[in-house]
């Protein structure tokens, strides 16, 4: 395979404006002539944003000649996934953007084709979940909320995304860790982040769960208070303890990554892993990650596959307890 030298990367970066204007005239020999990027979600969503960011970074780093995008949205990726598996089987230059939502959706809908049917290439970014309350809430700390939950979980309404999604699963895991029955959760599902945020800052619910970036601005403006984060470590620059620190053994994060079709050979797989590794090292990618405030959790190939298998098993167990699988 072509190795990417630092010099070549610099040339690529300096030629970025030109490359953008004439996408097929990258000077450095690209790693792939073209990449078929399959997004199992509508344009404008999180997976689409990841795919477009990969395109932008790859082009300015001169890694790829050109991109073809295809968006097939629906049901947490479950409409697009079978299409990708059938149509791109054995194609060495096809990629699918997916993530933890796809794991849960496959289990909840009992889909015949799931994330297990594609070839894991790399995990790119992740975002930890946060537990927040309205600014006016009587719950000042996690302990206050924990005590209220232990007293009567049904009296503590918690807002989040659709049932069976990452927010709901986190609540289920929390109740289990507090030795409560996850089925007693008073979970209020909202479609789209906007409606859930409005319900939380309007004081319509006791608490809310979502990814940190959804709530960050509300917290900064003093309309919401964060009580705990679900990641392994604290979020840099955010003075909120992790659940582990608070004595609740729960970690969860919403990750995004890329997958190849089934039926590709070892050489094709390695080429895609090399490409993703080169992308992750490029300055253009680092700039985008910093600008979007994503956290870089790059993990490629077999190591990623192993983590994914564990993630699927954990999600399945949590969903069973919530009565969703």
């Amino acid at each position: 395979m072509i190795s990417i030298t630092r010099r070549r990367l610099l040339i690529g970066a300096s030629l970025a404006p030109l490359a953008a204007a004439l996408p097929r005239m990258a000077f450095a020999a690209p790693m792939f002539e073209s990449i078929n990027m399959f997004i199992p979600a509508a344009p404008g969503g999180g997976w689409d944003g990841t795919g477009r960011a990969i395109e932008a970074a790859s082009k300015s780093a001169g890694l790829i000649g050109g991109f073809q995008f295809e968006n097939v949205s629906g049901a947490g990726g479950m409409v697009g996934l079978p299409k990708f598996v059938n149509q791109r089987k054995g194609m060495g230059n096809a990629l699918l953007v997916g993530g933890s939502v796809m794991v849960g959706a496959g289990i909840a809908n009992k889909s015949p084709v799931t994330i297990k049917d594609v070839t894991p290439i790399a995990r790119l970014t992740e975002e930890a979940g946060v537990i927040a309350v309205p600014a006016s809430s009587p719950f000042k700390t996690w302990k206050d909320l924990e005590n209220a939950l232990k007293a009567n979980p049904k009296a503590v309404s918690v807002a989040g995304g659709s049932a069976g999604g990452t927010d709901h699963l986190l609540l289920g895991m929390l109740l289990r860790a507090l030795k409560l029955n996850p089925k007693d959760a008073s979970y209020v599902a909202f479609s789209g982040g906007g409606a859930a945020i409005a319900a939380i800052i309007g004081g319509q619910v006791s608490a809310g769960i979502s990814g940190y970036s959804e709530f960050a601005e509300q917290v900064a403006a003093g309309r919401m208070r964060l009580l705990a984060v679900s990641g392994n470590k604290r979020i840099p620059g955010v003075d909120v303890p992790t659940l582990k620190e608070l004595g609740v053994p729960v970690t969860a994060a919403n990750w995004r990554g890329v997958f190849a079709p089934p039926g590709i050979n070892a050489k094709q797989k390695q080429a895609l892993i090399d490409y993703m590794t080169a992308l992750n090292k490029s300055q253009a990618w680092k700039d985008i990650v910093a600008q979007r405030k994503w956290s870089d959790v790059f993990l490629a190939g077999d190591a990623f596959a192993k983590e994914l298998a564990e993630d699927i098993a954990e999600t399945e167990a949590a969903m069973k307890e919530l009565g969703l699988a």
């Binding site: 404008g44 949205s73 809908n109 309007g202 601005e217």
Partner: protein, 506 residues
Amino acid sequence: MSTFDALMGGFATALQPGILLYGVGGCFLGTLVGVLPGIGPALTIALLLPLTYKVPAAAMFVLFAGIYYGAMYGGSTTSILINAPGESATMVTAMEGNRMARRGRAGPALATAAIGSFVAGTIGTIALTFFAPWVVEIALAFGPAEYAALSVLALVAVSSVLGNSTLRGLIALAVGLLLGFVGVDLQTGQPRLTFGAAELLDGVEVTVVLVGIFAVGEALFLAWQGHFADGEVMKLSGSVKLSREDWKRSWKPWLRGAALGFPFGALPAGGSELPTLLSYYAEKRLSKHPEEFGKGAIEGVAGPEAANNASAAGVLMPLLTLGIPTSATAAVILSAFQGYGIQPGPLLFTQQSGLVWTLIASLYIGNVILLLLNLPLVGLWVKLLYIPSQWLYAGILVISTVAVYGAGNSLFDVGMLFAFGVLGFAMRRLDIPAAPLIVGMILGPLLEQSMRQALVISQGDWGTFASRPLSASLLAIAAALLVMPRLVSMLRKAPRQESPASDARQ
């Protein structure tokens, strides 16, 4: 006034030639996608998102503002001329607007829609400029219980669109409600009425049903009738300008529509369908010519179209002041902000004030550009009806199909489009109105989900709907609207019935 100064600063940026050009381009593009059935502003802006890597933020948002408002103006055109609304919000406009067009009054219908859009869009933008923080606080007081009460209120307003027969109108409503429940249940994650089809897990797309029943159904019906052989499908006589009478009958509905539309747009689950429906209901009730409704009453075009555009301005309020997207388009604009590394939120006005005020200024400018663009176009649009029907309807069918296919890249959607086209044909033939079906599709899920959310919060206590003051008042208004007309007519009849009886006794 610091708000005023900031706004002037926004105008200074937005009027720079390089940026203004993006605004004009956005208005053109928006009008175009509004006119084309099946592609709306949300999809268009989403497709333009990759440009965020190349175009500076100010220019980009001015472009988006143009597309957003432009699509609202353009959407009414196809609704009025060929009864093919591309978005649920313009469906109500189609009801009276298309009847006007059939009577040879396409010009005035388009003109009242364009001027009403301008008036309401400008009122909405002024309200956005000066009152956003207060309106947003009120909007936040709306919880699930209030949304449930609001959808009950809207169900009462459905009575105004049931058409010639209550039975047939209710049939359309029931089919719509059933369609609205298809897909994964938000509260429990269970698939409902999907019959194993993965394509149905996210529910039935309202746009597909709308374009199928209206555009495809209408084409099937007209082909079956075969009346085009005589010449025109529609009368083309009549002036394209608004008469004095038209102005007199339009200005109040414009203002009422704006007053209804703006607050609904600001509600996190409001949307533009509810205010257009309520505006139509109000105009039908208040009109001095109620007998004209269903035959082409200009109030029925002016009010809902104004409500639609004012709600478009309202939607931007929670987006800009709180960072909360309340419509598909707002969600895509939000991700454009994120593309520039800007997190819209309560601090956006202070941290990115230059950008925000440029965006708001461009909304004022966009409204003016669109009025200047659309009024002269009225004459040109009306000429569309001179196209021989074989080319016009063949074109509409091809465009509708291609748009639906392109939006989802799915032949399943195309199949649904055609199936709903056949349903639309049968409904036309049997005089079953289409509007209640679409309204049911939108109201059913809103009523169900908000009711269940409210009951989870209240731990299953139904009293929550009566004990919350806002929800209780909304339900009281709904009850009053339902009972009052009957009560009034009973009281009017009662003395007349009594007097002969008392005469007899004497």
